[in-house]
């Protein structure tokens, strides 16, 4: 299962203040650890919301709102995507991250991706699984296999 570990923005990240050398090196070490464990799929830091924009959908209209946005704690400063065995494992990895803004209070939020298995069991889903199994038994090779 896949999870996104989301780093919430802070005043500093929104102000575009770059992390210290120490933090950069600690993050590098942590990322390497995720990679060596085979769980890291993707990661990125995001620029302050002042460089972003929002598109608001309302009553069939689209309105563009330029950043920055004020509700700092609702904003995202970066993320990792990891593939792990359980929610607990995702939490365990998140706990091991260096504090994203050192001494400043901040949060990492964990959100699970939707997967095939998340669809409620039903006759249609069962039928689909059965068909796939039968189909794949007779499929000839790796590249043409659906």
């Amino acid at each position: 299962m896949k999870f996104m570990m989301i780093v919430r923005a802070t005043k500093d990240s929104e102000a575009g203040i770059m992390p210290t050398e120490e933090l950069i090196s600690a993050m590098g070490k942590y990322n390497e650890e995720l990679m060596k464990a085979g769980v890291l799929l993707d990661l990125s830091g995001l620029q302050p919301s002042s460089k972003g924009a929002r598109i608001r959908f309302s009553a069939g209209k689209r309105t563009i709102i330029d950043g920055p946005f004020v509700e700092t704690k609702e904003l995202i400063a970066g993320y990792w995507i990891i593939q792990v065995k359980s929610r607990e494992e995702a939490i365990e990895w998140a706990k091991r991250a260096p504090a994203p803004f050192e001494d400043q209070e901040c949060e990492i939020e964990i959100r699970q991706f939707f997967e095939m298995d998340d669809f409620a069991p039903s006759e249609a889903v069962d039928r689909m699984r059965e068909r796939r199994r039968e189909f794949e038994k007779t499929s000839p090779s790796t590249s043409f296999r659906a």
Binding site: M35, K36, K85, E89, M116, E136, T138, P140, F144
Partner: protein
């Protein structure tokens, strides 16, 4: 924290720490079986204590320290035995002394080497294929015996016995805890890759299984592959295998329609592919190629998969390149199934006649006598050449060869659209 909750956290910690723990211990005690038992002892201790004491700040270090204590106890007990049984000799004692000393010097830096040794020992050719798979999932994947049993749809007892026997075999065969060198390395590495790909395929071809564990096997295999790529970053075939698995896994969600029909590769909604995995797969393939491994068996298969992954629509598929890659693959590992796929690629690239030439040679292949896809593909090509009576014959033969109703529906569809996307 409630006890079941703590147990789930311990499961997670185990999943993260167990391979490193066992590898580190095996390096000290020089016996994978003993190392695993020591690690299990530490796990049991954690299960006893953590619900009350709480999870330690550094659970990995706690487990290691606990396991080392057990190991020292074990050595001391053995030493007593040794005094009683002189045949154990001084060598062993010296070895154990130095092993105890190793506890203090064992360093985080070596953990990668230890893990790699553990990979090679778990996939050692002295073990049966089933044993390699079970041991790899258990020691490196951190899966329980029960999880492995569920994943492979065999009784738990069977897996437990496989693992016990495998550990005993390793001890009896005095398999050294080391990374093979020189010429041996290539053969041993390919055994490791085979095990990982077996695990992946078990999961991939059973993504349909009613048991949730089975799709998880793909993820287990991918994780092992990625770990291995980190451990031996200069081995192109490891990146080739990772690329192949990432690209195949990227299609998992697109392989089935809302009504439950299997969706053939060329009919899949490409927006439903996992593009993070596609990108990772293409990057891994690039690494394999940059290391000079473009013609390795896994890299070639990955390159074929990548051709599909790069095409934004089926019409953009580079069939000439796919045909050339199948050509190379057929030379490297000739098989009727590869040849059949090559025929399809050739027909897509150069027209049905060229594909038919290959098929007609294949028709004599005894191993494909009962294989319904051979007449099905031949029928498609004949239909494209507007040789309809012959095509119908082939379709009928294909239908007769498959007892499965859904397969027949598939053939009906193939017949109706007359496209060679029937594979």
């Amino acid at each position: 924290m409630s006890s079941p909750e703590t147990h789930r956290v311990i499961d997670a910690v185990w999943r993260i720490e167990s391979a490193r723990l066992i590898a580190g211990l095996a390096c000290i005690v020089r016996d994978v079986g003993v190392a695993e038992e020591l690690a299990q002892d530490a796990l049991v201790a954690a299960l006893e204590r953590w619900p009350e004491s709480g999870i330690p700040d550094n659970p990995g270090a706690w487990l290691m320290a606990t396991a080392k204590h057990r190991a020292i106890d074990l050595f001391r007990r053995n030493k007593l035995l040794e005094r009683k049984h002189a045949e154990f000799g001084r060598d062993l004692e010296a070895q154990q002394e130095s092993a105890v000393a190793n506890f203090e010097t064992a360093h985080e830096d070596h953990i990668g080497d230890d893990l790699l040794r553990l990979v090679f020992v778990s996939c050692h050719p002295v073990l049966s294929r089933e044993a390699r798979v079970a041991l790899t999932l258990r020691l490196l994947g951190g899966l329980t015996t029960q999880e492995i049993a569920r994943a492979f749809l065999v009784p738990e007892q069977t897996v437990a016995q496989r693992i016990v026997r495998a550990k005993r075999t390793l001890t009896e065969a005095h398999v050294p805890f080391e990374v093979p060198r020189g010429l041996d390395l290539a053969a041993r590495l390919s055994s490791v890759l085979e095990v990982i790909y077996l695990i992946f395929n078990e999961g991939y071809s059973a993504t349909a299984g009613e048991d949730w564990m089975r799709p998880a096997l793909c993820e287990d295999a991918l994780r092992l592959g990625r770990v291995l790529a980190g451990l031996v970053p200069n081995e192109p075939e490891v990146h080739g295998l990772v690329a192949l698995m990432e690209i195949q896994a990227s299609r998992a969600h697109a392989r089935v329609g809302p009504a439950g029909d299997p969706i053939l590769l060329l009919d899949q909604d490409r927006t439903r592919w996992d593009h993070v995995l596609v990108r990772r797969g293409l990057a891994a393939l690039q690494r394999a190629e940059a290391l000079g491994g473009a013609l390795g068996p896994h890299a070639l298969q990955a390159a074929i998969a990548a051709c599909h992954a790069r095409a934004r629509s089926p019409a953009e598929t580079d069939w000439q390149r796919i045909a050339a890659l199948y050509d190379a693959l057929a030379q490297l590992m000739p098989s009727p199934v590869v040849e059949l796929n090559r025929a399809v690629a050739v027909s897509m690239a150069f027209g049905p006649e060229a594909g038919l030439e290959i098929i007609d040679i294949l028709a004599a292949e005894p191993s494909l006598k009962a294989y319904h896809l051979l007449p099905s593909v031949r029928g498609d090509l004949l239909a494209k050449l507007r040789r309809f009576p012959e095509a119908r014959e082939e379709f009928e033969r294909a239908a007769a060869l498959t007892q499965n109703v859904r397969e027949r529906n598939l053939l009906d569809r193939a017949r109706a659209c007359g496209a060679s996307s029937g594979l």
